[in-house]
């Protein structure tokens, strides 16, 4: 198995903190969140298994090439366009959320437009890079930040002020009314495999199909990951108290203190690491979206330079900047919930589509 594939899978497990996943889960903390998480994990592992295996059956090909080869043209272009927009929405949610986090926790004086401009300029530049280059950047950023983030998770786990009783309360409510929103939020941690839609172009070697064992391993790691992002904030702030926070994880990180470090508040290390994670996550998402949408749109050249990607990415930036005004934090949260549910629907549809395509390809 290619190591870059693991990075793509890990990326979303880290990025879920920024993508409002903990917030959604915490909102439903007394509505059977535990069972919802397990349902979400089971569903997304199924999607994972089918999608990744069917992509691996076409080594070196991205989803656009496969879809175009096996489905009618009208379907292929409309489907790819919608899927591409989905990736952009994922990138947009992460960016908008992190811009808001930046304004709240790091630079309250800076204008939101300027912050958005800063983030967008780097994300757009990254998205326009070659596909393999984005992977190299991803690898570097993950290798630097993953150990530190794990360290912070561990440190938070061994804190004497962590209240295990509050977490038990959540488990007690495991079977109360289950909500589809939390199922969708739980599945977000696993959707890293969707990046294969483009990154499969680089995996030119024929690989063996993924084994159930590997899927189980991913399931365990992901489940632990989701439960950490849900439970630790609750353990620090109490079952009732946690409901007051907009960004539960960042507020929790501020409750952790490093006695001997010259940076005392863990929050800042956490924030700086998460700037990296959210930027690379937005870059990878928007790169995937860009490549998919590019495959549908006509190419448009000026002085030997492909202009279409630049137009698409500028459009994305404009929409993101406008969304800052029309989709303030509260509305963005509602929108994200709809996105999570949509993610489930898309996953379902994609799974059936891929099964059908693999069957056609065999004939």
């Amino acid at each position: 198995m290619n190591r870059y594939f693991h990075y793509l899978v890990i990326l979303n497990m880290l990025a879920n903190v920024v993508a409002l996943v903990p917030k959604v889960l915490i909102e439903h903390r007394l509505n059977g969140v535990v069972v919802s998480i397990f349902i979400g994990v089971a569903l997304s592992l199924l999607f994972f298994y089918v999608f990744a295996n069917s992509m691996f059956k076409f080594p070196g090909k991205g989803e656009p090439e496969i879809i175009k080869a096996y489905t009618p043209k009208w379907f292929a272009s409309s489907y790819l366009f919608i899927i591409g927009i989905f990736y952009f929405i994922a990138a947009g949610i992460i960016l908008l959320t992190f811009i808001d986090i930046t304004l709240r926790f790091i630079n309250p004086d800076m204008s939101s437009l300027y912050t958005a401009f800063l983030f967008l300029s780097i994300v757009c530049a990254g998205a326009l890079m070659k596909t393999e280059k984005t992977l190299y950047a991803l690898e570097i950023i993950l290798v630097i930040s993953l150990p530190l983030i794990l360290g912070i998770f561990l440190k938070s786990l061994f804190n004497p002020y962590l209240s295990w009783d509050s977490m038990k309360v959540i488990v007690q409510h495991s079977f109360d009314s289950i909500s589809i929103e939390s199922v969708g939020a739980a599945s977000y941690s696993f959707v890293g495999f969707y990046y294969l839609a483009i990154y499969n172009r680089l995996f030119t070697e024929k690989v063996k199909p993924i084994k159930i064992r590997y899927i189980l391993l991913i399931g365990i790691v992901g489940t632990v990951n989701i439960f950490t992002s849900l439970m630790i904030p609750i353990g620090y702030n109490g079952v009732d108290g946690i409901g007051d926070f907009n960004y539960p994880w960042f507020s929790t990180a501020d409750a952790i203190r490093m006695e001997f470090g010259f940076i005392e508040r863990v929050l800042f290390i956490f924030l700086l690491l998460y700037i990296g994670i959210s930027i690379i996550s937005a870059t990878i998402s928007s790169h995937t979206g860009l490549e998919i949408i590019k495959s549908v749109l006509p190419s448009f050249k000026w002085k030997n330079r492909e202009l279409m990607p630049i137009i698409v990415i500028l459009l994305f930036s404009m929409v993101t900047i406008l969304a800052q005004y029309y989709l303030p934090q509260g509305k963005l949260y509602e929108f994200t919930k709809i996105f999570f549910i949509g993610l489930l629907g898309v996953g379902m549809f994609k799974t059936f589509l891929m099964i059908w395509i693999v069957r056609r390809a065999k004939k």
Partner: protein, 448 residues
């Protein structure tokens, strides 16, 4: 016969036209009673001591002119006459033209005064080979061949560099290790160069890379024969030019610039320690000034209270924002560095001591900069020089200002954005088609 006759005559005419007016051109007619021959050469670039032994003595001893011609043809550096243009070029590169009857014979007899092997100055090591290259291309190839005894080592001299300078250029590679597509690319790029004058590897480097507005070195410049031999064994291509003790190594990746040959000569853990020291140095020299501005001016709450207070305390007498303080000190430090490169060796230490003392002591006492700033500048200056390859340390010197600028206008966010931007930029670069920055390079099976 008619063709050969015109050959010698036209050549003689051409040579006379071009070189008669130069003082150092010699036109000599030898006559031993039976036969007459003509010699043409530029006496400042040929080995005058050998002329007597090689040409004059035999001419008067060998009685038959045919025998003399075949003697000349058997000489080591005899070159076939191709056309007038080639012959002219050879004369300019230190060849002797003999016009015997109707034939033109060319013998290379180049003398170069720069073939002394120099001590390694730029990339010195404590243990390990102490000598570097010379300024003579053939001596350099000799040095490398003595370190790399492999039949697949190929030396090519495909062209002369520069329309006017016309210096010799050699490409060395191990045929077995080299990637053919990289070799082809390098040769292509070399052919496309049309600069009038090229005299140093740095200049050649600039000419080879098409995008010549670059911040980071794409090819490596080195003076160490051991590094060259090592890189040959790694399948890299060496580009040498005449009159320069530095060669280019292509392709080069980011890690190459962070490695010293010393790493191979030390025990394993020592060398690992040294390498990590270098990365820490890189980190300090890049981020410290920017982080100082970001933390003191934007987010003092990042540090623990005691530290934040002591920094703020030392900044009490300073009457302006932190970025001016940092810029002022950094630029002073750069001036010192630049000055000590250009100064004569005898004055150098004086200037740096005086400069350092005045800057360090007086600037703080005058309340222009804080004490902590002095420590930071010193740390930045020292850790910048820890980067073993000079080119990279220069590039990092510049990048530091970009980060400083971003942090000045947007705080710690700017620092992070700048860092990620730097990673993106480095990742995005290519060196002759090979990725420039990528983790875990030496994996046997390349995955993507």
């Amino acid at each position: 016969m008619r063709r050969i006759k015109s050959q010698a005559d036209t050549l003689k005419q051409l040579l006379e036209e071009n070189f008669k007016s130069t003082e150092d051109a010699t036109f000599k007619t030898l006559d031993n009673g039976q036969d007459q021959i003509e010699m043409v050469y530029i006496n400042t670039i040929v080995d005058n001591a050998k002329i007597h032994d090689l040409f004059l003595k035999p001419f008067f001893e060998i009685d038959k002119i045919n025998k003399y011609v075949s003697y000349i043809k058997s000489l080591n550096d005899y070159k076939e006459y191709k056309n007038e243009k080639e012959a002219m070029k050879e004369v300019l590169h230190g060849a002797i033209v003999l016009l015997i009857e109707d034939e033109a014979l060319i013998v290379g007899l180049k003398l170069q005064e720069n073939s002394a092997v120099q001590n390694a100055m730029v990339e010195a090591t404590i243990m390990g080979p102490q000598t570097a290259l010379s300024e003579n291309i053939n001596t350099n190839i000799n040095l490398i061949r003595h370190r790399y005894h492999v039949p697949t080592l190929k030396v090519e001299k495909p062209m002369l560099m520069g329309e006017k300078s016309k210096v010799e250029l050699a490409i060395l590679y191990d045929e077995q290790q080299v990637k053919p597509e990289v070799l082809k690319k390098i040769k292509n790029q070399l052919e496309q160069i049309n600069e009038p004058i090229i005299q140093s590897s740095g200049e050649l480097h600039r000419a080879i890379i098409q995008n010549n507005k670059r911040l980071f070195p794409h090819l490596m410049v080195t003076e160490r024969p051991d590094r060259i031999a090592y890189n040959l064994s790694q399948g890299k291509i060496i580009i040498m030019i005449e009159g320069n003790p530095f060669v280019l190594i292509a392709p080069a990746v980011f890690y190459d610039f962070m490695s010293a040959m010393e790493d191979f000569y030390q025990p394993y853990w020592v060398s690992k320690f040294l390498i990590s020291l270098r990365y820490i140095g890189l980190f300090i020299s890049l981020f410290l000034p920017a982080a100082y501005v970001g933390i003191t001016s934007f987010n003092p709450e990042v540090f623990r209270v005691q530290l934040a207070f002591s920094i703020a305390g030392s900044r009490i007498p300073v009457p302006y924002p932190s970025y001016i303080e940092v810029l002022f000190m950094l630029i002073m430090m750069e001036m010192l560095t630049e000055a000590s490169i250009r100064l004569p060796k005898t004055i150098g230490p004086t200037a740096t001591t005086v400069g350092g003392l005045i800057l360090g002591q007086a600037a703080t006492e005058a309340g222009l900069v804080s004490n902590i700033m002095i420590i930071i500048v010193a740390a930045v200056a020292i850790s910048n020089f820890i980067i073993p390859i000079n080119e990279m340390s220069f590039s990092m010197r510049v990048s530091k200002y970009l980060l400083l600028f971003l942090t000045t206008i947007s705080g710690l966010i700017g620092l992070m954005i700048g860092t990620i931007g730097l990673i993106y930029y480095l990742v995005h670069l290519d060196s002759v088609g090979e990725p420039y920055l990528k983790l875990f390079f030496d994996e046997k099976k390349q995955q993507t």
